[in-house]
Structures are given as structure tokens and as C-alpha cells.
Amino acid sequence: MNNIYTFLKRVAAIAWLIILAVWLIVLFGYISNANANPLFARQTSLKCSSCHTIYPELTPFGRKFKLGGYTLGEREKIPLAFMAIVSRNSISDNTDKSSGDKLFAKNRELVAEAASLFTGGKFTDYAGGFVQWTYNNISTTDNQRYVGHGALDNTDLRLVKMTGSEEKPTFFGLTLHNNPTVQDVWNTTPAWSFPYYSPTIAGPGRGVPTFLESGARVAGIGAYTYLFDSLYLEAASYQTAKGALSALRWGTPDAQRVTLSGSNPYLRATYTFGSDHQNFTVGASAARVTMAAPDATPQGDRFTDLGFDATYQFFSKDDHHIITAMASTIHEKADWRAGFLNGNNDNPSSNLRSTRAKLSYLYDRTYGITGAVFKLTGDADFARFATNNGKPDTSGYIVELNYWPHYVFNWDPQANVRFGLQYTGYTKFNGSKTNYDATLRDAKDNNTLYLYAWFMF
């Protein structure tokens, strides 16, 4: 009986996907001219593929649009855009092997995952912004019950001045943002790096994040310059989003709030070279962040992150082929100045290293394939990581197929959708390949097959 029920549910899910696909094809029509990134596309009259290879990954022009403070084009009267994500994730083994209980509800179910409202764009010739508010429909604390929750998401407000001769053009800018590296334009730093979307329900993740990868909802104030169309330099400060800056973490649940001690530095440099058909970037980033001290502890834990990254992009002359490659690594030294005293950590300090690389091929800006690898390694810390050998080591690979059809919706030429089918395979999870948490669960039990439709309008 249970099998029939599961079978019917699967049939229903597939039927829904087919209905959705047919609905899209009928509604969007077959006009080949996809304008995409809706707010900015409307503002500039350009197609989304002018700024993006596989959104949110940026083209060389997309990088400059962002460095230019989102100010290019004409200001929209009503600067709004929307995003919605419908998805279905399937984890290889959804049972707790020690108890037989189901680990994740809604595994293998089609869900309306999240919806976002965007505003911002061009304010004046010198000021612009990217403001995203997201309603996460599957917020959960126990992976069994899911509730809806809305909060301010990625936000980046900028003031920019373009100077220099035509031969040596330069940007100078200021940014106010709410998530470390959300201001970055190279898609190698955590906020906008591959995978661009990954499963929320039954999503095992890619191990414990370094500070820069943690998506901490904090207030970032930075100054940057893009000198002579090649050298990018940035200095920023991260602090708790409180007082006048509390709006930057609007809606973030208390438990996810991050309180830092004072002002914490972040530095970033990249160098880009190449032609209009191919370009290379090499970069480095560094941050030193101190958490607020817990009660009865003189100092908070301190994280020192040092990252290196490189990118390559190729655009064929006939416009049919795009290849992009990205690699990055972040080394984190954590000083457990509170954690060690409080017994939350085994040692006064420990190291973590997160490395990622990906290679994408995009045909006709419509069909995409990406292969990626990720590897997290770190010192054993039994108090911090509840794993068999005390290590956080997690590694694996991702293969993603994308289909970005060029339909144009009659009443909204900027509406578009991208489909993704993403397989994540784990070779190591929470320290081991097999039996990593003493419940006989193996790394490969966490492999996921994730299907999503990403709507922008």
C-alpha cells in the first residue's frame, strides 16, 4: 500500500513538472529573444545574457555593470522584479539507519521553495542598488516541519564615480551590503559562487563553512576601485547589523543573527587581463573577524580567512560557445578564545580549508553543463564536530545540466526561466567515507539529485 502511495506521489510530481513545462511553452510562446535579469534588463534594454552566462554568473560586461553601481541605463519608474523557485530534491538514503526514522520530510516532493522581490537598480547616475527580499517557504529547524519565513536577502547599495581617460578608465565606489562577498563580481567568492542554487530540503550541504562562506547577515561597508580596467582593490569593514544598520538583517531570525565584536577588516584584490573573447582573473581575499564575547568570557572567537581564486572565460566569435572556469580556496585559522575556555573546542586554535573548482560549457546561451568539485578539510575537533573521527572533512563533485529557453512572454519580455538538474556526489562526509556518525551512514547516502525551475520576471 505504501509502495502504491509512493508511486502515485512520484507520478503526480512528474505530471506536475510536465504541466508546468507545457504551461511555460504555451504561455511564453516561441519568440527567440530572451531578455532576462528583469529589473536590470528593463533598465538597460539589454538581454540578461548580456550580463550573465548562467545567472547569477557574470560576463565581463555584467561585472562592470555591477562595479558601476547598477547605474547604467535609464531609471525605472517602478523598479521591481520577482523570482520564484520550484524544485524537487531526492537524497539517496532518507533513513536514520540507527532508528529507521525518516530524516527529511518532503524528500522527493515538488515544492515551491522560495520567492524573491527585487528592487534597486539605478537611483541616479552615481547611485544604485541591488535589494532582494526573500520568502523562504521551506524554513525548518528539524527537517520535519517546514514553515514560511520572509527576510531581507542579498543587499548591496553603491555610490560610484567613473573617471579616467578612455584608455585608462577607472571606477571608484562605496558599497553598503549585508553579507560578506555579496559585493564581489568574479563568482569565485562564496556569496555568488557555484553551485548557484542547491537543495534546501534534504540538502546535506558541503560541510561547515568558513566565516566568508557562512553567509553571515552582517553590515559591510566597503570602498573599492577598479583601476585602468584591470586591477580591482577593495577594503571593507564588517560589523553587527544593529542600530541604523539593523535594516540590513531585517527578518533574520534571532538564532541566525551574528554579533561581531567591533569593526572587522576585509581586503580583496584581483587582476583581470585578456581580450573581449577571453579573460583571466587572479585574486586574493583576506578577513579577520572576531565574534562578540559570550557572557563571562573576555574575548570572542576569532577567524582569520585567507583566500585565493582564479577565473577564465571564453566567448567564441560566433557567439555559440561560452566556457567558464573558476577555482578558489579559503584557509581559515580559528582562535577559540571563548570556545576553548567554554569547552566548545578541543584546542585553542584550529584550521579549516575549503577548495572549490568548476568548469562550465554553455551552448547558444541555452544549454549548459557544469562539472564541479569541492573539498573541505580541517583539524579534528570532537567538541565542535560531532563526527566519528572528529574531523569535518567533506568532499565530492557536482554535475549540473541547465536549460535556459529563449521564450518571450507576451506581456513581459523580461520574464524567463532556467531549468537545472543537479547531481551531487559525496566521496567523504563529516570526516569519513563510511559510517561517519556511528549510525552506519555513509558519505554516498547523502548524494542528491536536484531538479529546479528558476523563474525571473
Binding site: N35, T44, S45, L46, K47, S49, P60, F61, K64, F65, G68, T71, L72, G73, K77, P79, T119, G120, K122, F123, T124, D125, G129, V131, W133, L152, L157, M162, G164, S165, E166, E167, K168, P169, V208, P209, F211, S214, A216, T240, K242, S246, A247, W250, G251, D254, Q256, R257, V258, T259, M291, P294, G300, D301, K317, D319, A338, G339, N344, R384
Partner: protein, 99 residues
């Protein structure tokens, strides 16, 4: 998300919502209130976007979605939503997007 996350002293939810609502409202309304000159032409430095007066790989401004042709054909150059200054219909820049 294993970093220590300390909960801050709570501001009342109502105050926080009101405050953040005001900020978000300000963000949305700023463009409607702040007066900017009607930007007929773009603001980007030609060099930054690698603008050239000749086509590139068969692509030219005349076919681009951001290009506005001159009011009379004799005028020669048009304008662009992205690039500052007069723009040659035979020109090209890295923002090129087929209309």
C-alpha cells in the same frame, strides 16, 4: 553555520519592523523622489566598455537593443542607453545585445 552566534539584546519586534520598513520604503521610494536629469544618453565611459567605431564580428550598435538611432538619418550618430556620448550605428561595445 557552526560559528558561535550570540543573540543580541532584543529590540522589540514592532520597533524593528517599523524601522526596517521605513528603510526599505526609503530604498524603494528614493528613485521616485530623487530628481535625476532625464537620461537620454548613457553614462558609461566608452573605454570601460571597449567601445569602437567599427563593427566587431558582424555585430554593430544599429542592431543593439540599447541603441537609439538619430532623429534624422543625416545626423549620422545616435545615442545609447549605456554608453555616454554620440554612438556610431556601425560601432560596437562589450554590452552588445541583439535587439
Amino acid at each position: 553555520m557552526n560559528h558561535e552566534k550570540n543573540q543580541e539584546k532584543k529590540t522589540s519586534r514592532r520597533i524593528m519592523l517599523r524601522r526596517s520598513g521605513a528603510v526599505l520604503g526609503a530604498v524603494i521610494l528614493t528613485p521616485l523622489i530623487v530628481h535625476a536629469p532625464p537620461a537620454k544618453a548613457g553614462s558609461a565611459n566608452k573605454g570601460m566598455l571597449h567601445y569602437q567605431d567599427s563593427p566587431k564580428d558582424g555585430k554593430m550598435c544599429a542592431d543593439c537593443a540599447a541603441y537609439t538611432p538619430p532623429p534624422s538619418p543625416e545626423a549620422g550618430t545616435g545615442t545609447c542607453k549605456i554608453v555616454a556620448g554620440p554612438v556610431n550605428p556601425q560601432g560596437w561595445c562589450m554590452a552588445y545585445s541583439h535587439r
